[in-house]
Amino acid sequence: MSRRNISARYRWAVASRAAAAFLGGYALTSAATIVLALLWPVPKAQGVFAASMLSFALYAIVILWAFHCPSVKRVWTVMLIGTAGLSALAWLLNAGGAA
């Protein structure tokens, strides 16, 4: 067996997983950062700073999980639904704070 046996399908699967991990993961982390910033029990400007500092650890965990998860479909699902859910939560929290 050698490298020549690596199929195009496998390559696409890896590319899709990498995209889900790095791009999807970044979107998910961004949304989570906003939620964390709004929930952090310090003045808002500091909360934004603190949540952003933590975001790299979060991003790392998300990526590591994405490469460990057996199914690439599940990775995409979690990234998309997670991002959408957290964004909605951020919107609610922020609207609530502004009201």
Partner: protein, 562 residues
């Protein structure tokens, strides 16, 4: 198992822990490879940063040799400074007097100087600021120091570890940021891969080709692991909102005004009201500072007034600890001299955390031996990346050979091999070239500092061509020897071109300049040693002895099980 059958071939019924180690080994291999060369550049140039000021001094040989600072009486100096400030800026937004003092031992000497900020023009946030160095004896304004040669200096070298070169700043910091994030992933996945960190650390199987490279990579990586984690994470925090803008941009907006508003909220904004010479006698305040921080640790005395408040005198301690960016202060009423309560720190625990992270990254808080430790840890980082990249290539080359495919050149492996030589052996040679250029380029040359950079990159490009043109093993050994010679000869070039050579600097006890030359000799020796070791390790091997790799996808899996 066929890759066609299983698109993520790690979950094959093995135990969860084993599967995790396999996926992490795969990730470690590939993020390490993708980011490796950029990270090597970042580590080499960043490591020099711990001796940034020392390197700059060496690159400016026109500066005088080090002299021991004369003792001084702080209240006399403050008297002289106040006199001068009253004369040039009777009404100002702020005054600041810097007493001669040392920051974090050996880091930076600060001369006696004054600084004032004029009242801002209408519509401006800040007024013009002026700094003057004063003679500690007479209080006379000192002329600016003799212009040294135009040089990129230690700062130029160090700055490249985040801003690279020849690239727009915004691109460069993002490239470095992505590489740093990949490094964080490589570190964490590397830790997960190694179930026996302690045993691996004490395992070294020399003269066994691929195994030896793996053992070296493990040992070096584990040795400074906390440093690697710290330097990577804090590095990301330096560019917090460039790398993770979502929180700030969504909650505060993206325009310049929004960003300003954010920082005003974070730091708290004070509008300054005009001040003049304080009525309170200064000497008793200086005594209190000395009682609080010890002799010689008072760094500066500022006079300022926040709008709507009384004018105050703020005494700051020298920057000598982990609180480098937020040194302790004492506040006094400028008229009565009464002690005022400490102001709450802007940004609270959040900013304090960030500022400690910055100090940890830059090693600002530590003395000369601490900085040597940082320097050594930085070199271990170069070693970790270098052995990791080499391991990738050696492993695949052996497999390639064991499959009996000598005749059929593999582009990917060849590319990595060439880039490895040109980076790992070539970049240090280029850095030596940077120092050579500092001594050999004509002193009056136009754009001289830029040509020091061009020299570095020209040498580096040269090593790439060299690596392309020579058989791999010869390229490694020859470039390592060239690097060794280039470093070892720097003190010689220095002696031939300046009068700041070891004969003078050692005799004078100027350990910054002498230390630079001695370090170059040390690097020369280290590269000679590396050349000998690499020559031994890259001896042509019998591929069969390594055993043919079986997995078509990832021999790292096999490795990690071993």
């Amino acid at each position: 198992m066929s890759p066609q059958g299983r698109l993520w071939p790690f979950h094959g019924g093995g135990r969860m822990k084993e599967t995790l180690r396999q996926t992490m080994a795969w990730l470690h291999t590939w993020v390490g490879l993708v980011a490796g060369w950029v990270l090597f550049f970042v580590f080499v140039t960043g490591t020099t940063g711990y001796f940034q000021q020392e390197i700059t001094r060496w690159m400016e040989p026109e500066r005088p040799l080090e002299v021991a600072p004369a003792p001084y009486d702080s209240s006399e100096l403050v008297g002289l400074a106040m006199q001068r400030l009253e004369q040039v800026a009777p009404v100002a937004a702020s005054w600041s007097i810097t007493l001669p003092h040392q920051e974090a031992s050996g880091r930076g000497w600060n001369d006696f100087s004054i600084r004032w900020e004029e009242m801002p023009q209408p519509g401006h946030d800040f007024g013009a600021r002026t700094t003057e160095r004063l003679d500690p004896e007479t209080g006379a304004v000192l002329p600016p120091e003799a212009e040294p040669r135009d040089t990129a200096g230690g700062f130029g070298l160090y700055r490249m570890h985040y801003s690279l070169h020849y690239l727009p700043y915004d691109w460069a910091i993002r490239i470095v940021g992505i590489a740093t994030m990949l490094m964080l992933l490589a570190i964490v996945s590397g830790i997960v891969t190694h179930k026996k960190i302690i045993r691996d650390f004490f395992t070294f199987r020399p003269g066994k080709g691929q195994r030896s490279w793996l053992d070296a990579h493990n040992a070096v990586s584990v040795m400074a692991l906390p440093f690697f984690l710290m330097i990577t994470y804090t590095g990301l925090v330096f560019f917090l909102f460039q790398y993770m803008p979502a929180g700030r941009d969504m909650l505060y907006g993206t325009g310049d005004d929004s960003v300003d508003a954010y920082y005003e909220e974070l730091y708290g904004e004070h509008e300054h009201a005009a001040i003049g010479r304080p009525a309170a006698p200064i000497a008793p305040l200086l005594k209190q500072a000395e009682a609080a921080w010890g002799k010689g640790h008072l760094a500066s005395i500022a006079v300022e007034r926040h709008k709507g408040e009384e004018p105050e005198i703020v005494l700051s301690r020298a920057r000598i600890g982990l609180d480098y960016y937020i040194p302790p202060q004492l506040r006094f009423h400028a008229t009565t001299g009464a002690r005022l309560p400490a102001e709450p720190r802007a940004g609270g625990g959040t900013l304090a955390t960030a500022q400690v992270m910055y100090s940890l990254h830059e090693g600002h808080f530590t003395g000369i031996w601490g900085r040597w430790l940082y320097f050594a840890a930085g070199l271990l980082g170069c070693g970790m990346i270098g052995t990791g990249l080499t391991l990738w290539a050696v492993k695949r080359r052996l497999r390639h050979l064991s499959e009996g495919r000598e005749a059929d050149e593999h582009f990917g492996i060849r590319l990595v091999e060439v880039l490895n030589v040109a980076t790992i052996a070539g970049l240090p040679l280029a850095v030596a070239g940077f120092f050579w250029a500092n001594r050999l380029l004509p002193v009056a040359m136009l754009d001289r500092a830029a040509w020091e950079f061009h020299s570095l990159f020209a040498v580096w490009l040269g090593t790439l061509f060299y690596a392309l043109g020579r058989p791999l093993r010869r390229a490694w050994i020859e470039l390592l020897w060239a690097t060794s010679a280039a470093f070892a000869l720097i003190p010689v070039v220095n002696a031939l071109t300046t009068d700041r050579h070891l004969g003078v600097t050692l005799a004078h006890g100027d350990w910054v300049l002498a230390g630079f030359d001695l370090t170059m000799l040390g690097l020369g020796a280290a590269f000679a040693l590396t050349a000998v070791k690499v020559a031994r390790r890259l001896k042509p091997q019998v591929p069969a002895a390594e055993g043919a790799a079986t997995s078509s996808l990832e021999p790292a899996l096999k490795e990690s099980r071993a």
